[in-house]
Amino acid sequence: MADLRSKMLGRKYTFTGRAMIDGQGALLMADSFKSSETDLAETANEVREKWGVFA
């Protein structure tokens, strides 16, 4: 579990499937699950353009 946690926590993923949500949180029943990392510099630039935040 620790190894799985270290590989996955904090990273972005895309999944398709169902979600069961209650007061305790969300349980994802995934049919597909894959990493969705993007280009950081490009994404940061998109955020800057979107909100007009430039140094």
């Binding site: 270290s6 510099a41 955020v47």
Partner: protein, 203 residues
């Protein structure tokens, strides 16, 4: 809640209920405190290893998940600490991705605040008519009724620093957080002092 940053404090204390670990991670907006209590014994072995690593001089990036715990200090100050439920040691790319995503969400909230401050009142209908996103209406209404007028400029400084860090303009996140936070701290203190003068709360 989820926070991530460079580890800055980490220590073990022995209490009546067993060992307790407390620490803090620093990001562009400041310091985030957390603790691991007796109800998470499965994390204690890992915490012992991290304490040894920290005390040997190692600095690392850490992502933490847990529940917020608010308390008031003896002098009336308000503090927020996380009761950690899980964590991971993360790499630069993971941290940088988190910074960009958080910057985006923070600017969305700041934009919503600007719209809310132009609304006729803080009730839900007025905020909706002012263009505040539906999912932010309830929280913004509560926040504005509690804190009154509020200047988000300090958080914009954090957003700019986070984006710069994520774009690779820093050599080391550890050095970056230690040096750049001085500016963010000053801005945040100004905002907090202005807020405390208005609300009577002290930080």
């Amino acid at each position: 809640m989820y926070v991530a940053g460079v580890i800055e404090r980490l220590e073990r204390r022995d209490t009546e209920r067993g060992p307790m670990f407390s620490g803090a991670v620093r990001d562009p907006t400041g310091l985030h405190l957390w603790s691991v209590g007796s109800f998470r014994p499965e994390l204690h072995i890992e915490m012992e290893e991290l304490v040894a690593k920290f005390e040997s001089g190692d600095r690392f990036l850490m992502a933490c998940i847990g529940k917020s715990n608010h308390y008031t200090t003896e002098d009336g100050g308000f503090r927020c600490r996380m009761q950690m439920e899980d964590y991971a040691i993360i790499d630069r790319d993971t941290y940088a991705g988190w910074l960009v995503e958080t910057a985006d969400h923070t600017m969305r909230r700041i934009d919503a605040l600007g719209k809310a401050q132009s609304a006729e009142s803080t009730d839900a209908n007025a905020l909706r008519d002012a263009g505040v996103p539906k999912d932010l209406i309830d929280g913004l209404g509560l926040a504005m009724n509690h804190y009154g007028e509020w200047d988000p400029e300090g958080y914009k400084v954090g957003v700019l620093q986070a984006l710069s860090a994520a774009e690779g303009r820093v050599v080391s996140f550890e050095e970056h957080e230690a040096n750049e936070t001085l500016g963010a701290r000053w801005c945040a203190r100004q905002c907090f002092r202005a807020s405390s003068r208005r609300t009577g709360n002290r930080f």
